[in-house]
Each structure stands twice: as structure tokens, then as C-alpha cells.
């Protein structure tokens, strides 16, 4: 028999098998708890710190008092001694004399004795000289008085905690209430509405007429020297070079510092053999990073230009390839590749899987030598297969086209560089290639109450 309520549900990523209603109830409880806890903490801070301080500054009445004695009070807090100034004063209210030990309205202990001692010394001097000082008493309870007014700025910092809790709880409650009882489709429409309200996409341009097809990098258009479009390399290639340069700098700096210490130690006659042994793997690591960086630099830059971009299935265009550097290449390949990418959550991990679904070798060259100032250059035609899927990008799924350059370099490990392409859907049978005739915008209708 099926149970109507299950304590444990199967879950993979965002897909749940449990009741949506119970899920929403759970969310409400969690967010309401955050909100209530935040309000409670805020109220406590207000009551114990802010309101007394405000009253001391605005409602307490100023009178003159006689400082009788001053000292530093001590207390133990988790085996740490904390201090506070303790000033014994005598003052008169409505003909009645009050004596109390006080300082400020919070009168809290804190670490560091010296600053408290300095405060106490100034009051002790007044006591010794018989000087009168100002104090402020509470008109509702005249035996409560302080000798220092003002605000402590760090009290306001304490509000960060309750305000964060209130923001999380309140925001979560609003979100849950807005989405309460809404279907998956209704939620998706609401998300889409907010996206459509933006006049421009994230890249600052008007929304594309091709939903979920990525836009080509604007810098690429018109930037080519031989052909109109120079393709920017995959960002990861540039980050990899920066990463190797940073690793090389770090490894070599550490090696040099350690080498100086070791040599200096041995020179002075008290060298450490442990440090000397540690130097060996560090030198090897530094040499390795230099070798990799040199390889990256010596392979030079790869430039790809094409005659049209974005492309569409069935379209043929010209490709210009240029490889600079100083090396002997055994084999060089340029491939047109289509890759699917799926991101999914497994437990608490987010995993990404990639699969190549199309690969076409456009260019195979080698062996040949590339010299400085004389890059290897060639052109070839490139055709996106007819009937192929266009580029597609959603939150968890992606279909991407790219040109992949694989180089087998003599004496060095090979290299691989990628150049993303954008392939739009095939020319619309009803309109132009920019999709102007087709009306991509969706529609949302709400008929309200039937019969009204």
C-alpha cells in the first residue's frame, strides 16, 4: 500500500519524489524560524544595548558628582582575565545623596588592562584633587548613574547577525508565498517574466531572437586580418598560461629563498641538511614549471579567422589558420567538433559530463618547422553539417561547437587549443537568417475567473 507521507524521499539534483506541498510547508517553517530567531536576537540587542545607550544620551539628567575612588575591576571569562573601569561616585538628587560604582551604561568587561588603567588614573586624579565631575542619572531610577555618555560604534555591528537572519527568513517567506501552489510551468513563466523585464541581456545587448543560443563575442567581429572574423581562443587556454606563469614564479621564488638560506647556513658553518634535502625536489619542481612555461611560450600563438560568424548548419565558409612560435611540428590537426555538456548534482557534488557527438578533421599538416617571424599559415574550407543541432545553452545542459587545434611538437609534449563557435538554427524557412520574420516571443495568458 502506498504511504501518503514519506519521511525519506529519493532525490537526484532538483528532482524530488516527495510531496511538493510538504516541501513548501518545510520551507515555510525553516524561513519562519530564521525570521523569528532574527527578530528575537534583534530585540535582545535593542533591549540590552541600544535602548539603554539611547536613554543615557537623551533621558539621563546631568549633575555634578564627587569621585570617591577609582579602580580597575577584574573578572574571569573562560580563564582569561577581563577588565573594566570602576568609578565610585557620590551625587545628590532632590536633596538625597546617592553613592554608586559605575562607568558607562553598558559597563562591560573587556580584554586589555592598560586602557582601563588610563581611564581610572584620570578619575583618580580628580578624586585626589577633590574636583567635581559630570555624571548622568536615570530620572526613573536615580540610583543608576554613569560618568561617560556616547555611543559605541561596534554595537551597531551586532545588528549584522539579526538583520541577515531577518533578510534570509523574510526573503524566503516572500519567495515561498509567491510560489505557493504554483506549478513548475507557472514558476518558469514567472522567472521568464522577470528576465523579459530586463531591456538588455547580461552582455548589454538586446535579447537575441534565438532563445538559448549563445551570442558570439562582439570583439571577434571585424577583427580578422585575412578573413572578417578572428575567433577568440577559449578563455581556459589563457587562464592556463596565467596559471603556469604564476606557478613558475611561486616555485622559483621559493627555491631561490630556500637556496639562499641553505647556502648561507652552510657558509656560516651551521647548515641544515634537512633543508638541503628539501631543496632537491623544489629545484626539480621549479625546473618543471619553467619547462612547461617555456613550452607554452615557444609554441607561440594560434590564430583562426573565418569568413562568417555566427554560422548555421549546412553553411560553408573559409578558414584561415596561423601558428607562430619556434618549433618543429610533427603533426598539426584542426578539427570541427560538436560537444554535449550535461551538469548534474549527485548528492552534494556537482558533476559535469561531456561527450563529443561530431568531429570533422578540417586540416592535417606535418611535419614542418615554424620559425620566429615566419608563422605557418594556411586556408581551408569548413562546412557545418546540414541538419546538425545548433549551439544551445541552458543552466544545466549545453551543446557547443568549436574548432580544436591539436599540435604534436617534436621534443615537447603536444598542445591543444580550442576556439568556440556559434551555430544558429538553420535559416528560417519563413524569414531571414537573423530570424526577423519569426516571432520568438512567447505569450502568457491568464483568464482569471471563468465566466466573468
Amino acid at each position: 500500500m502506498a504511504r501518503s507521507f514519506r519521511l525519506f524521499d529519493k532525490k537526484r539534483g532538483n528532482r524530488r519524489t516527495g510531496s511538493k506541498r510538504w516541501g513548501s510547508v518545510g520551507e515555510l517553517v525553516v524561513f519562519a524560524s530564521f525570521l523569528l530567531f532574527g527578530c528575537a536576537v534583534g530585540a535582545i540587542i535593542l533591549d540590552t544595548l541600544v535602548v539603554p545607550q539611547w536613554r543615557a544620551n537623551h533621558e539621563f539628567v546631568r549633575v555634578f558628582c564627587q569621585v570617591l575612588e577609582a579602580g580597575v575591576g577584574e573578572s574571569q571569562d573562560d580563564e582569561v582575565t577581563v577588565y573594566r573601569p570602576e568609578i565610585k561616585i557620590e551625587y545628590e538628587v532632590d536633596g538625597r545623596t546617592y553613592r554608586t560604582r559605575t562607568y558607562d551604561v553598558g559597563w562591560a568587561y573587556s580584554s586589555g588592562r592598560d586602557d582601563k588603567q588610563a581611564i581610572v588614573d584620570s578619575f583618580q586624579e580628580a578624586a585626589d584633587a577633590g574636583e567635581k565631575r559630570s555624571c548622568w542619572y536615570d530620572p526613573k531610577e536615580p540610583k543608576t548613574a554613569v560618568v561617560v555618555c556616547g555611543y559605541r560604534w561596534w554595537n551597531w555591528l551586532l545588528f549584522v547577525v539579526p538583520l541577515s537572519l531577518i533578510a534570509i527568513g523574510g526573503g524566503g517567506l516572500i519567495y515561498t508565498a509567491v510560489h505557493w501552489g504554483k506549478s513548475t510551468e507557472h514558476r518558469a513563466v514567472m522567472a521568464g517574466r522577470s528576465a523579459r523585464r530586463e531591456p538588455f541581456a547580461a552582455n548589454g545587448r538586446p535579447p537575441s531572437p534565438f532563445p538559448n543560443v549563445p551570442e558570439p563575442a562582439p570583439a571577434a567581429l571585424g577583427a580578422g586580418r585575412t578573413l572578417p572574423v578572428r575567433l577568440p581562443g577559449d578563455i581556459s587556454t589563457r587562464w592556463a598560461l596565467l596559471g603556469w606563469a604564476s606557478a613558475c614564479a611561486a616555485a622559483n621564488t621559493a627555491t631561490i629563498v630556500l637556496a639562499v638560506l641553505v647556502v648561507g647556513g652552510h657558509w656560516a658553518g651551521h647548515g641544515s641538511w634537512w633543508l638541503t634535502l628539501l631543496l632537491i625536489p623544489l629545484v626539480a619542481l621549479a625546473a618543471l614549471t619553467i619547462s612547461f612555461l617555456l613550452r607554452r611560450l615557444l609554441t607561440g600563438s594560434t590564430t583562426i579567422e573565418i569568413s562568417a560568424h555566427p554560422l548555421h548548419p549546412g553553411q560553408t565558409c573559409q578558414l584561415f589558420f596561423s601558428q607562430s612560435g619556434h618549433m618543429r611540428i610533427n603533426c598539426l590537426e584542426v578539427l570541427l567538433v560538436c560537444e554535449e555538456e550535461a551538469t548534474y548534482r549527485q548528492g552534494t557534488d556537482t558533476r559535469t559530463e561531456r561527450n563529443e557527438v561530431y568531429g570533422q578533421r578540417l586540416l592535417v599538416e606535418g611535419p614542418f618547422r615554424v620559425r620566429r617571424g615566419k608563422p605557418f599559415q594556411t586556408t581551408c574550407p569548413m562546412t557545418v553539417p546540414a541538419g546538425a543541432m545548433h549551439s544551445f545553452k541552458a543552466d544545466h545542459n549545453e551543446i557547443g561547437w568549436k574548432l580544436v587545434v591539436k599540435g604534436d611538437v617534436a621534443g615537447w609534449p603536444g598542445y591543444r587549443r580550442t576556439f568556440p563557435l556559434v551555430v544558429r538554427p538553420e535559416r528560417d524557412k519563413h524569414g531571414d537568417e537573423n530570424g526577423n520574420a519569426a516571432r520568438p516571443a512567447g505569450s502568457v495568458e491568464s483568464h482569471g475567473r471563468a465566466g466573468q
Partner: protein, 133 residues
């Protein structure tokens, strides 16, 4: 007792649609009393299947609600019509699949929901298979 369901019909049954085409059709409820229906949602949407977590976007959405104070019955049938967008096209890949469908969701009294959907293809794209070379 007959099974409750929503039957969806596309006007040009089974054909492949292309960007800019008009998709129209109708639905009717079978085995559900109109008085039990609180609301009906009709969505024309694409969603992904396969290895990754599901992505979904609604292209066309209409919601009809029954009155609350004086119970007004919804007619147990309706029509929908929309112009299809340029993308994404239907695709059957190795680990990513993109599918289009018309989905009718019926909210019944007592918190019950009934979901029916009818798939259709947008565009003619060759299936993606793992590259061998």
C-alpha cells in the same frame, strides 16, 4: 470507473513544426467533472532530458481559474495557439535531449493534480551520436 485524463489534440496531427509556424490545438477533460476543476493550465514548453539536471522554459502559458465565491464551472475543453520560436530545436543527443510538448495541468478540488502532455517536434535536426573518431 473510467480513468481521469486530459486529451490533447494538435490541429496538424503529428507533423514537424518549424520556427515561425503556428501551433494550435485543443484539449478536453475526460472522466473529470467540471465542478471538480479549480484551474487549468496549458503550457507550450521545451525541456531537456538526459544526463544533466532538467532545464525547462515555457514559451506559451495560459491559466484559467474557476470562481471562488460562487462556484463557476470551467468548460472541460479549450483551445491553444501560439507562434513557435526560432530555438531551441528538438534534439535527440547522446547525453542532452531537447523536447517540446504541450502540457495540460488540471488542478482539482482536494489538492489533486492531473497532468497530460503531448510531444511534438520543432525543426528537423539529426540525432547526435557519440563521435567515433
Amino acid at each position: 470507473m473510467s480513468e481521469s485524463r486530459a486529451i490533447i489534440r494538435l490541429d496538424e496531427n503529428g507533423r514537424t513544426y518549424f520556427p515561425g509556424d503556428t501551433l494550435s490545438g485543443s484539449y478536453h477533460l475526460d472522466g473529470i467533472s467540471s465542478a471538480d476543476v479549480k484551474a487549468i493550465e496549458v503550457s507550450i514548453l521545451w525541456h531537456t532530458e538526459g544526463k544533466g539536471d532538467e532545464d525547462l522554459a515555457v514559451h506559451h502559458f495560459q491559466r484559467r481559474e474557476a470562481g471562488n465565491r460562487i462556484r463557476l464551472e470551467l468548460p472541460p475543453q479549450g483551445r491553444f495557439r501560439t507562434v513557435l520560436p526560432n530555438s531551441p530545436l528538438s534534439y535527440d543527443g547522446a547525453i542532452v535531449k531537447v523536447g517540446w510538448c504541450v502540457r495540460v495541468r488540471v488542478f482539482q478540488s482536494g489538492g489533486k493534480e492531473l497532468l497530460s502532455q503531448r510531444s511534438f517536434r520543432l525543426g528537423k535536426v539529426r540525432p547526435g551520436r557519440l563521435a567515433t573518431s
